[in-house]
Symmetry: C2
Subunit: 336 residues, 2 copies
C-alpha cells in the first residue's frame, strides 16, 4: 500500500457541483489523515471553490479537465467523445494508477460505461455489478446488481453474490452477511429460468452464506444483508423503493395539512419523524460501488452534498485498507 | 345473456371462510338484483352460516364440496388430488357453464393452476395473466401480469396489454386507459431483451394506447393505468409495494409512540390518516381477475371480508355485462 490513499473526485458531477464535491474533499482530508484527494475538473473553477477553505494543502491536488458530461447524455457517446471531461480524465487517472479509487456523482449510465471500458474488469470477473445500499427495518441491505447488467447469466449472479458478500463483510462491517436471491416465491423451485438455476448454484457453494429466496415484500424487512439480482429486477426493486416511499411520505404530509387539529399534531410529531427517517438515509453508507473493476469506482447519488462525498471517500479508504479487490479475486478463483 | 348472472363463490377459501364469503353472498344478492350466487363448499357449514341472514332465498344456492384446499398446498397436486374441494368443484361448475364466473379467496397458486387446467384459456389466448389493481397517487393502476407467467414471450406481453386495456376500460371504467411497459429507463432502447422487443411491438399497434416505459419509481405516481409486465417482474413490483408500505407505516407508528408529545400528535392525526389510507385500499376495485380464460375467475385477497366478496361479485357483473371476453377475443384477433 502507498503512503496515502489517493482518491480521485469528479468535481463537476452531480446536482451541487462543484461546491459540494470540493467541500467534501476538504472535509475528507481533515477527517482521514491518510487520504489525498485529486479533484478533477475545470482548474480555475475548483481553485475558486477551494479558496473558501483552509485545509492541509499538500493533500488536495487538482487535475484539470475542460469538459463536463451532463445529465441525460447518451452514455457510450459521452465517454467516447468527451475525452477531456472530468469523468473520463478521472477514470483514466484511476486506470493509470495515479489514483486508487474514484468517487463521482455523474450520470449513472456514463459512469457504468466508463468504468467497464476505461478502468475495466478485474481478470476473472464476468460482469461488474453496481451495488446499492437500501434501507431496511434492520439497517441496510446491499442490492447487487442494482441496474448495470440486464440479461445476466446464472454464473454472473453467483459472482455478484461473492463480490457482494465480501463487500458487506469488509466495507459495511456486517458480520457473516446473509446472502439472499431476489425471487418470487419462497421455495427452491419458484421463480423464472434464471433464478431457478441460480438457486441451485448458490446452494452448492459452501463459501456463500446463502439463505434462500427474498421476495419483494421481504426486501425492506431486512431478511438478507446482500440481495442478489439480475440488473433488470434489481433496478425495478430499487426504483420501486424510491417511488413507494415518496408516494407514502407525500400522503402523510397531505394528512398533516387536513385541518387545524392535524396541523398541531404534525408540529408535535415533526421532529421525531425527521429523526426516524434519518435512519433510512443510505448516504451514511457512502455511494454505490461498481464491484469487480481493477480499481474501485463509487457512484454517489446525483443529489450528494458535501457530507455524502466525504462519506464516499471514507468508503474508498475502507475498501482499499481491506484490500477488497484482492479478496474478491481470491474468492472468485476459489472453487467454492 | 341469461336471466341472472350466476356467480360461483368459493365458501371455504380465505382467512375468514366460511363466514366472510357467505355474508358477502348475502350482501351481493341484496345489492345486485340480477345476481344469483352459488356458494360452493361443505353444505352443512354453509347452511349454518346462512341461517344468520334473511335474503332472497331463490338467489343463493349451495353446491356441496367435501374437501378444502388449504394455504401452502402444492398448487398442481392440490388441484389434481382434491377433486371434491370447493375450488375444484367451483371451477368445474364454471367450465360446465353452470356458473358465469367464479370468485375465490383460495390459495393463489391453486387458483392459477385450476383456472388454466379446468376453466382453460380462450382460443387464441397464449397465456392467462393475473391482473392486480395497485394504488397510485391518481387512483389505481392495473398490473398485468402480477405473477402468473414467468419467462413470458414478447407476444404474450402484447396480449397482456390488449386484455388489460380492455379490462381497465370496461370494468374499471377508465376512459382511454394509458398502457405502459414496466421497464428500467425511459427511452425505447432501454431494458432487457424482452422489454426492448415488447416496446417495438406495442408501439406498432394502433389499437393499444401505448405511452412508453414505466420505471419502478413511476408505478405509484400513476403514470400509466395499465402496466404490462412479465409475471416475474410484475410480482416483484407488487410485493415491493406491499413490503415498503408496511415498513413505512410501521415506522410512522413507531414515531407516534416516541414520547408524550408525539402520542398527543398521533391522536390528532389518527382519524385523517385512516381516512386517507382508505383511498389506498384496492379492495374497492374487487379481486384480481385471471384474464383470457373461457370464463371469468377472480382471485380475492386471502384476507377478504364480506365487503370485498360483495365487491368482487359486482366486478363479475360488470365483466359479464360488458361481455368482456367477447371484446378480448375480437381485439386479439384484430391485426392491430
Amino acid at each position: 500500500m502507498k503512503e496515502f490513499i489517493r482518491v480521485a473526485l469528479d468535481a463537476m458531477g452531480g446536482d451541487y457541483a462543484p461546491a459540494a464535491p470540493v467541500e467534501g474533499a476538504v472535509r475528507a482530508v481533515k477527517e482521514f489523515s491518510d487520504v489525498k484527494v485529486i479533484l478533477v475538473g475545470k482548474e480555475d473553477v475548483i481553485k475558486n471553490e477551494l479558496k473558501k477553505y483552509t485545509y492541509p494543502n499538500d493533500r488536495i491536488e487538482i487535475k484539470n479537465a475542460t469538459e463536463v458530461i451532463v445529465t441525460g447524455e447518451p452514455p457510450v457517446r459521452s465517454i467516447q467523445e468527451k475525452k477531456d471531461s472530468s469523468l473520463v480524465v478521472a477514470l483514466k487517472a484511476v486506470k493509470a494508477k495515479e489514483a486508487d479509487a474514484l468517487v463521482t456523482s455523474g450520470n449513472t449510465g456514463s459512469v457504468l460505461v466508463g468504468g467497464q471500458t476505461i478502468v475495466r474488469r478485474e481478470k476473472g470477473v464476468e460482469r461488474s455489478p453496481i451495488a446499492t445500499a437500501i434501507p431496511t427495518e434492520k439497517g441496510v441491505a446491499l442490492l447487487v446488481d442494482a441496474g448495470a447488467n440486464v440479461d445476466a447469466r446464472p454464473d454472473h449472479l453467483v459472482q455478484f453474490a461473492i463480490m457482494g458478500q465480501a463487500y458487506a463483510e469488509k466495507v459495511l462491517n456486517i458480520d457473516k452477511p446473509k446472502v439472499g436471491l431476489l425471487n418470487i416465491g419462497a421455495e427452491e423451485e419458484k421463480g423464472n429460468a434464471l433464478t431457478k438455476e441460480v438457486y441451485g448454484l448458490l446452494s452448492s457453494r459452501s463459501d456463500i452464506n446463502f439463505i434462500g429466496n427474498v421476495e419483494g415484500n421481504e426486501v425492506s424487512k431486512g431478511k438478507a444483508d446482500v440481495i442478489v439480482a439480475d440488473g433488470f429486477a434489481g433496478n425495478l426493486v430499487l426504483k420501486m423503493y424510491e417511488g413507494v416511499s415518496s408516494t407514502l411520505m407525500k400522503t402523510v404530509k397531505e394528512v398533516f395539512m387536513t385541518n387545524a387539529g392535524t396541523k398541531i399534531g404534525a408540529l408535535l410529531i415533526k421532529k421525531a419523524l425527521k429523526e426516524k427517517l434519518k435512519t433510512f438515509d443510505v448516504d451514511q453508507y457512502g455511494g454505490a460501488p461498481l464491484l469487480g473493476l481493477t480499481s474501485l469506482v463509487v457512484k454517489s447519488h446525483g443529489n450528494s452534498k458535501a457530507a455524502a462525498f466525504k462519506t464516499a471517500i471514507g468508503q474508498c479508504v475502507s475498501f482499499i485498507k481491506a484490500d477488497l479487490n484482492a479478496i474478491i479475486k481470491e474468492r472468485l478463483n476459489d472453487i467454492g
